[in-house]
Subunit: 196 residues, 2 copies
DNA sequence: ACCTGAACACCGTTCAAGT
DNA sequence: ACCTGAACACCGTTCAAGT
C-alpha cells in the first residue's frame, strides 16, 4: 500500500510479489477487506507511546498527550497512502486499544475522571485524523503555494475573507498549523478539567 | 449515492436511472471522480449558515460557530453514505468556500484576527469531520450497545482503563458526545482569543 | 492437503458504428 | 452533431482441475 497506493494495490499484485496466486491469498484472509484491517492494525503499531502511569511523573498531561498526537500524526504522514484505509475503518485491534489504554491511563493518572479522560482522548484522536485529512497529499511548499494561489484567484468581491486570509493560512507550515490546532484542543480539555 | 451507497453507486446504474447509456455520461463529466466532486459540492450546499457580519449582533461567536458545526454535522448525518466522498476530497467549490467565507466573516466581526479566525474555522471543521467518521454508520442504541459490549469482552487485565471507561463512553448519546467535544474545541479557541 | 490457471461477475472508460 | 451497444482493461473472488 505504501508503494502502490490505496487504489494501486490489488490482490493480483500482492500474489505476484509473494510468488503465489490470488486464490492462495484467500486461504489466509477472507478477503481484501480483512487484509486491510490487518494493514491498519500494523500501522497503529508504529505509534510509539511511553507506557502508562509510570510515565505520569515526567512532564504534564499536556506534554504526554501532545507527544501521543505528534506520534500519531507522524505515522500518518509517513504512510500517506494508508490514510484512506484508516478513515474507512473503526480501528479496534490490539494496537488501537493499547493506544487508547495508555492514553486514558495517563490522563486518569493526572487526576482526570474516566469520563473526561475518554472524551479527551477521543477528541484529540478525531482532531489528528481530521487534520491529517485536510493536509493529505505531501503538502510541501509547492502544494501549499498552489492552494494559496487558488485562493487568491477567487473574486475578492464574493469571498473577501477567504482571499484576505489566504496568506495567514498558507504562511504557517503544516506542522505549525497542526500544533496550533492541537494546542486549541488541549486548552479546551484543560478548561473542562478545571471545571470539574 | 444516498440510496445505493458509495460502493453501490456506479456509472451503469446512473445511466440506467437517467434512461441513457454510460458513454453519454462522459459527454457531461470527465469521469466518475469529477461527478463525485459535484456530489460533495451539492451536499455542502445543504449546510445552512446565517449570513455573515449582519448576524454578529445576535448571540456570541461561540453560538454562531456551534450552529455552523451542528448544521454541518446534521448534513453529514443525513447523508452517511457520502462521508467517504467528503473525506476523499479537499472541498474547494463555491459552497465550501461560502461556508468558510461566512464563518471567517463572523469571527472577524467578533474581533478575531484573520489568522486566528482561519485557524479556528479549520480546527472546528476538522473536528466535525473527524467526529463524523468516528460515529459513522447509524450509531443507534443497538450499535452503541454492541460497541460497548465489545469493549467489555476485552480482558480487564490487558486493557483495564478501556474496559472500565466503556460505560462512560457509551452512556452519552452520539449527539451529546459530539457537543461535548465541540465545546472543548470552542473553549480552546476562546483561550487563544484571550491570549492575543 | 494444498495450490493454481482460468473463469465469473463487475466496473470505469472508450470507440466504432449508427441515427 | 449526438447517442449507444459492445468492447477493452482491470479487479475481487471462486472453483474445477491438478500435484
Amino acid at each position: 500500500v505504501d508503494e502502490e497506493g490505496d487504489s494501486g494495490f490489488n490482490m493480483r499484485l500482492l500474489a505476484d510479489r509473494l510468488g503465489t496466486s490470488t486464490a492462495t491469498l484467500y486461504r489466509h484472509v477472507t478477503g481484501k477487506e480483512e487484509l486491510m484491517v490487518h494493514v491498519v492494525e500494523r500501522l497503529l503499531g508504529e505509534v510509539q507511546m511511553p507506557g502508562g502511569p509510570r510515565h505520569s511523573g515526567r512532564g504534564t498531561w499536556q506534554d504526554a498527550m501532545r507527544r501521543m498526537a505528534v506520534q500519531y500524526r507522524g505515522v500518518l504522514a509517513r504512510h500517506p497512502n494508508m490514510l484512506p484505509l484508516v478513515v474507512a475503518q473503526l480501528p479496534i485491534g490490539p494496537n488501537a486499544l493499547a493506544l487508547r489504554e495508555r492514553s486514558i491511563a495517563t490522563l486518569t493518572g493526572f487526576g482526570f475522571s474516566r469520563g473526561l479522560a475518554a472524551r479527551a482522548f477521543t477528541t484529540i484522536l478525531q482532531y489528528v485524523v481530521g487534520s491529517a485529512l485536510a493536509q493529505r497529499g505531501d503538502p510541501g511548499p509547492a502544494e501549499a503555494a498552489a492552494i494559496g494561489d487558488y485562493y487568491r484567484t477567487l473574486d475578492p468581491e464574493v469571498f473577501p475573507h477567504v482571499v484576505s486570509s489566504a496568506d495567514e493560512l498558507t504562511a504557517v507550515s503544516p506542522e505549525d498549523g497542526f500544533l496550533a490546532g492541537l494546542q486549541i484542543v488541549l486548552d479546551g480539555i484543560d478548561r473542562a478539567r478545571r471545571r470539574r
